[in-house]
């Protein structure tokens, strides 16, 4: 735990105090919540939620809230204008807030007993592999392992293998795609040709997947080396045949958090179709907002919410039944469009960018100019790898990190090679922060 706190201090400095207050506060609130009489539990729970949400609302959303008020007043021609203060976004606040909220809600619903050791609870909250960018781990998933975990040679090798895949995903694949995406997204979208707009969107699609999945695997791998079993967070989401399946494969720990703590308490799908669809919209509105304090993230969230509604309705009326390949292609197409909102600095940018994606204008550069000048031979190769690993099914592959088979010498060699390769890239390129560190 001390090492984890030191890790956080190196990243966030004296803001470590917020994490410490969160740990200590939630520890004692959890004990009180568990031991209190039923008639007080709801009040204590509400207090716990407020206690946990206040730092998140302040550090992440206060500026956006004031900006939104200013925008509303501007539209209504009011003279009111709020000064927007500069507030630093605390590393990992979205993640450890969700950890603590899930902890309290699970205590309230008697799924778990509270931790009796502040150190053990602090270990859960601050565990450095997942502290900054997930996966969102439930207390119940690692409570036994905190005090009694078992680390074997096999688990260490498996952890190294998963870690190396994650590191290479980030440094080799995501950063290569990201270099192209950044180049294109830095331009005025109105000047983009149809093809460049698509190249940028596709590159970002791969960048965000391999960046985030890479980080998750690094966290899972490190945890495994220490004897923890973190849940899987990504399962090749771009192979999905529909949006529902996409959200069962993408950021799985976030999806299940929203399902268990927002969607189901709102009634889930048990209160009729209209309410189900409304619940979906609420969940995805919050999901978008969780990702960032900006209109673009809200639009992205609602976009996926509406796609899910269409999915549910088409399922109900047996519409849009097409073969697997077209389902996957169509789903991937919709996901790529959504990522444009996610990546854009503001809403007008994303709208203009998407317009260019459908402009079908005749400014089509030659293959040479894309291959050699825009992308470069080295990055072109890595983008081909991005495509391969996004769509080729790894389930039965010998490379599958979740395979039950022992980690053989082939995988050990792959691990060492990938770590070495990644280290050379980090040395020469510096280190690009993970995209999800911003959340």
């Amino acid at each position: 735990m001390l090492f984890s706190l030191l890790f956080y201090f190196i990243d966030s400095g004296y803001y470590l105090i917020i994490l410490l207050i969160t740990i200590i506060g939630n520890y004692y609130i959890g004990l009180i919540l568990y031991s209190s009489e039923n008639k007080y539990k709801n009040i204590i729970l509400i207090f716990a939620l407020i206690f946990n949400l206040i730092p998140l609302l302040f550090f992440k959303y206060w500026m956006f809230f004031l900006q939104s008020l200013n925008d509303i007043y501007a539209i209504t021609n009011s003279n009111i204008h709020f000064q927007i203060p500069e507030i630093l976004l605390l590393s990992g606040i979205s993640f450890f807030t969700f950890h603590s909220i899930s902890y309290q809600l699970d205590i309230k619903s008697k799924k778990i007993e509270p931790s009796r050791s502040l150190i053990d609870f602090g270990m859960y909250m601050s565990c450095f592999p997942q502290l900054i960018a997930g996966p969102i781990v439930r207390y119940s998933e690692i409570s036994n392992e905190i005090s009694k975990r078992h680390s074997s040679l096999e688990s260490i090798y498996r952890g190294i293998y998963i870690f190396s895949l994650g590191l290479a995903s980030k440094v080799v694949l995501a950063d290569s795609a990201g270099a192209i995406a950044d180049k294109i997204f830095s331009k005025d979208p109105a000047t983009l040709s149809f093809d460049l707009a698509w190249i940028g969107a596709l590159c970002y699609t791969f960048q965000i997947y391999f960046d985030f999945a890479g980080y998750s695997n690094m966290a899972i791998g490190l945890a495994k080396m220490m004897g923890f079993d973190f849940p899987e967070n990504f399962n090749q989401p771009y192979r999905s045949k529909n949006i529902t399946e996409f959200w069962q494969r993408w950021h799985m720990t976030l999806s299940r958090w929203f399902k268990d703590y927002v969607y189901i308490p709102l009634g889930g799908n048990r209160k009729g179709q209209s309410r189900t669809l409304f619940n979906l919209l609420v969940v995805f509105f919050l999901c978008g907002l969780w990702h960032g304090a900006s209109y673009t993230f809200i639009v992205w969230g609602l976009y996926h919410g509406f796609l899910l509604i269409i999915d549910k309705l088409s399922d109900r009326y047996n519409a849009f039944k097409i073969n697997k390949f077209f389902s996957q292609a169509g789903t991937f197409f919709l996901i790529v469009i959504g990522w444009v909102f996610f990546r854009s600095p503001h809403l007008e940018f994303s709208i203009t960018y998407i317009e260019r994606m459908f402009s079908f204008d005749s400014n089509w550069p030659t293959f040479d100019s894309i291959y050699f000048i825009l992308i470069g031979p080295d990055k072109f190769f890595f983008i081909l790898l991005c495509i391969f690993f996004s769509f080729y099914s790894l389930e039965k592959s010998s490379l599958n990190p979740n395979s039950e088979k022992k980690v053989g010498y082939f995988k050990i060699f792959i691990s060492f090679f990938l770590i070495f390769l990644s280290t050379t890239l980090i040395s020469s390129n510096g280190f690009n922060p993970f995209i999800y560190f911003k959340f």
């Binding site: 190196i10 400095g13 040679l153 100019s369 050699f372 031979p377 020469s428 280190f431």
Partner: protein, 364 residues
């Protein structure tokens, strides 16, 4: 047992960079980087721990053990597998070109001249006029970059649609300015190219024989202007070829740097002379027993391309030569403080020197 041993080896290797940092077990040749590396923070105390933590991270990122080796491995892999580099355009037949020059600096200068060439011409005219009143001849030489003469060796990673036409347009206008002697770099080097290479393959600079050709042309033209009946500089020079590695190859940077057979001049010695320094600062070379064939004193301002001309023997043909460098003095300061015996002002700069164009544009 083997698996345990492999694991131990793996973790030992992970510790190696820290050990290298602490004990400098191996000598590491540093990488050429166009920036200053982060320095180790001093005066660390509990009070400033938060502020120095980022500085420590920056220092660690720039100094961890085997960093240079790992960077070289990365660039070697790019070069070997993909024939690519994000620092250098790797051309055909071993020709290298800085990416920053072709992708950033040349387009930037082209854009600048598109909007400001009028001011540049006006500034040069003003300067030439001012100098003429003091009986000083202004000579300007714009050194072209390697791609002007070796475009057939450019790789496909260079944008074929890049526009660098503005410099040629400017040069044509400069040739027409009164009181200015414009030394036509392209004409001289194109002629020289018929006999031998004029640039290094693995270096940004022209070779010394090319510098000699330009220096000789300059001296002889000035001699003609001065009314000398004989050719001022007619002695031939001896050119040798030797293996070398240029700055672009070192910037690449590979495990084993690329080499070339570069052309060099056999060491030339100046005739007996004295050296001194003025306050400006100017480096002064005075020939001890000047003959009648020597030209009057010259003030030169330039960069490493001018240094090539000096190595080729330029200063041997002037009674006195004053030399300044662009990074030591501004054009304004130099032209306002020319030594009283100055007869020629020679301004040399490379075609991507946006700052010099701006200084010329500001001449009143």
């Amino acid at each position: 047992m083997l698996r345990k041993l492999l694991l131990l080896i793996f973790f030992a290797i992970l510790c190696a960079p820290v050990l290298q940092m602490g004990f400098s077990i191996f000598d590491e040749k540093p990488i050429l980087e166009n920036r200053a590396l982060a320095q180790k923070p001093k005066q660390v105390s509990v009070g400033n721990l938060v502020e120095v933590r980022q500085k420590y991270l920056d220092w660690f990122n720039d100094h961890f053990g085997f960093r240079s080796l790992l960077i070289r491995v990365k660039y070697q892999l790019d070069y070997t597998l993909f024939n690519a580099s994000n620092r250098i355009h790797i051309g055909k037949d071993g020709w290298l070109f800085y990416r920053s020059v072709l992708d950033i600096e040349k387009p930037a200068v082209n854009d600048y001249l598109e909007n400001n060439s009028g001011q540049v011409i006006a500034g040069v005219q003003n300067l030439a006029e001012r100098l003429k009143q003091k009986n000083i001849t202004l000579v300007i030489f714009i050194a072209p970059m390697k791609d002007v003469f070796y475009s057939k060796y450019l790789p496909k990673t260079v944008d074929p649609n890049r526009d660098s036409s503005q410099i040629s347009i400017l040069e044509e206008k400069l040739k027409k300015i009164n009181n200015l002697y414009y030394l036509d770099s392209k004409a001289i080097l194109t002629e020289t190219l018929k006999e031998r290479n004029v640039f290094h393959k693995t270096d940004f600079h022209w070779n010394d024989p090319a510098a000699f050709a330009v220096a000789q042309t300059l001296v002889n033209q000035l001699g003609r202007l001065a009314g000398h009946s004989k050719i001022t500089w007619e002695e031939p020079v001896k050119i040798i070829s030797r293996e070398s590695t240029g700055g672009e190859a070192n910037f690449l940077p590979l495990l084993s740097p690329l080499k070339e057979q570069g052309l060099y001049l056999v060491d030339l010695n100046l005739p007996p002379h004295t050296t001194s320094k003025t306050d400006l600062p100017l480096d002064v070379v005075t020939i001890k027993s000047p003959t009648s064939n020597l030209l009057d004193p010259i003030v030169m301002i330039g960069d490493s391309f001018l240094d090539g001309m000096i190595r080729a023997g330029l200063q041997a043909h002037f009674k006195k030569s004053y030399k300044a460098q662009w990074n030591n003095i501004s054009l304004e300061k130099l032209t306002s403080n020319l030594p009283p015996d100055t007869k020629y002002l020679f301004i040399e700069f490379i075609e991507v020197s946006g700052g010099v164009f701006a200084q010329l544009a500001n001449q009143k």
